[in-house]
């Protein structure tokens, strides 16, 4: 199944991968984590982006739920959509 607007958390077929992602998120040191409101704003931008497929950004190959959770990360598009 291919979904162009979904995050992994919303895809039943990607549940095992999402569980792995949750483990990574849990292991993220607090000093490296973005603020919750920042994460939500970033993910909203990702949902509206044509580059999103099955929770993954085609520009960087990252699962956006993890990328958005990391403070130092940016949107790889030109211009970036997270700013």
């Amino acid at each position: 199944m291919i979904c162009r607007r979904c995050l992994l958390a919303e895809m039943e077929s990607e549940k095992p991968l999402y569980e792995l992602l949750r483990e990574w998120l849990a292991a993220l040191p607090p000093e490296d984590a973005a603020a919750p409101e920042t994460v939500q704003a970033r993910l909203s931008a990702c949902r509206a982006c044509d580059r999103l497929t099955n929770g993954m950004c085609a520009l960087c190959g990252c699962y956006v739920e993890l990328r958005a959770a990391k403070k130092r990360m940016g949107c790889p598009d030109t211009p970036g959509k997270w700013e």
Binding site: A58, L59, C62, Y63
Partner: protein, 486 residues
Amino acid sequence: MANITVNARRCAGTVNRNLFGHFSEHLGRCIYQGLYVGEDSSIPNVNGIRTDVAEALKKIKIPVLRWPGGCFADEYHWRDGIGPKADRKRMVNTHWGYVVEDNSFGTHEFMELCRQLGCEPYVNGNLGSGTVREMSEWVEYLNSDGDSSVVRERWQNGRKEAYGVKYFGVGNENWGCGGNMRPEYYADEYRRYQTYCRNYGENKLCRIACGPSEADYNWMEVLMKNDARFMDAITMHYYTVPGPDWQHKGSATVFTETEYYTTLRKARAIEPIIEKHLQIMDRYDPEHHVGLIVDEWGTWHDVEPGTNPGFLYQQNTMRDALVAALSLNAFIRHCDRVVMANIAQTVNVLQAVVLTEGDKMALTPTYHVFDLYQAHQDGASADCFVQSEPVADGVPQLDATASVKNGALTLTVANASADKTADVTASLDGFAAKAVSARILTGATGDYNDFTHTSVAPRAWNGVKLAEGQLTFTLPACAVAEITCL
């Protein structure tokens, strides 16, 4: 004290420039985003090809580029990738990541990429799921100047002249993803398919048979015994997987010193495997008509956390740089029969030389090794005898190769030790050196470049002294150096 004896009078052959070749597959972000962004992208491009990546690859004189796979090759139907882009077939890439392949990068785009890079194209045909006719017509489409329907199709798509593609692979990994064939079956299929891969005009096609994975000597035996007279080259693939198995390959950036040496030991293991394959080839082809092409090699780590597992995106450290140096040295030492090698893969996949993210680009330590080795391209190999102590896991501290071209002798030396410098004396027999210059790439084993910092890069090095025909230098730990003698 370590010693290197270079004997320029003993030459095993020409170091074919294609030993420094590359491989680009429709996999992850190698083609799309890595090499090709399309004409409408805001990322600077020429006819859709990224300008920054193309410029970087030209700087290391990329000699040959293999495409479209890999496993993708045996599922690729070339007609899907020609004609107006809006009409091209869309498919799901079932080998890699299950992403939609819109075929916007096809035959003409690949040939344009090679034109911009100034490199030879190496096209890998589909034997696993394609027909004899399909493969035959692809060669005709690429290379014929005749007034046939197939050639007229190329004209309609904007290309009048034949491309003159020299290197053509007849299937890929047909023992695995290319059809799970037995060697006896593939050997017969190869004979049939290659029959219809014609020479057109002055262009003599180099027909390349699918060879073995790593140490599958039986595959080589069967292919050479039955098909040697029908091929110009045969391939082999070898990946350096640091971990104990494919499920536990290990992180690209986080590893222990023990894992560092294990990686180098496994990288060095390619050389005795090559030698045994060459022994088999010598039995059936003593005149050396058939070349060996290592058209997939490099490190295979776990993907970067949080990235699509099917995209094979991994970082690249000084450890990978050492793997590159040791592997290239092995190819150079056997240049009498090893005629091409293609690192897997050029951009964003496995041991990439270039990483991209949006409009940003990073050159990896492996890129810089290719830079340091480029003077070897088409040089006359010079015998290079190295004496040094093992550092760990049976890995000798030093490895070196040398070649002579245009009156200059190039010596490339790698120090595999994670933490020990090497005091080296290098004697140069058969070459009267009058001046010396050098460049060096060095760092901690885990150093790497990313999109915010690029600390790993070669620099000019004045640590090499020339006196009475001898070079003396102290090579830093975990380093690769290029020494040029004039």
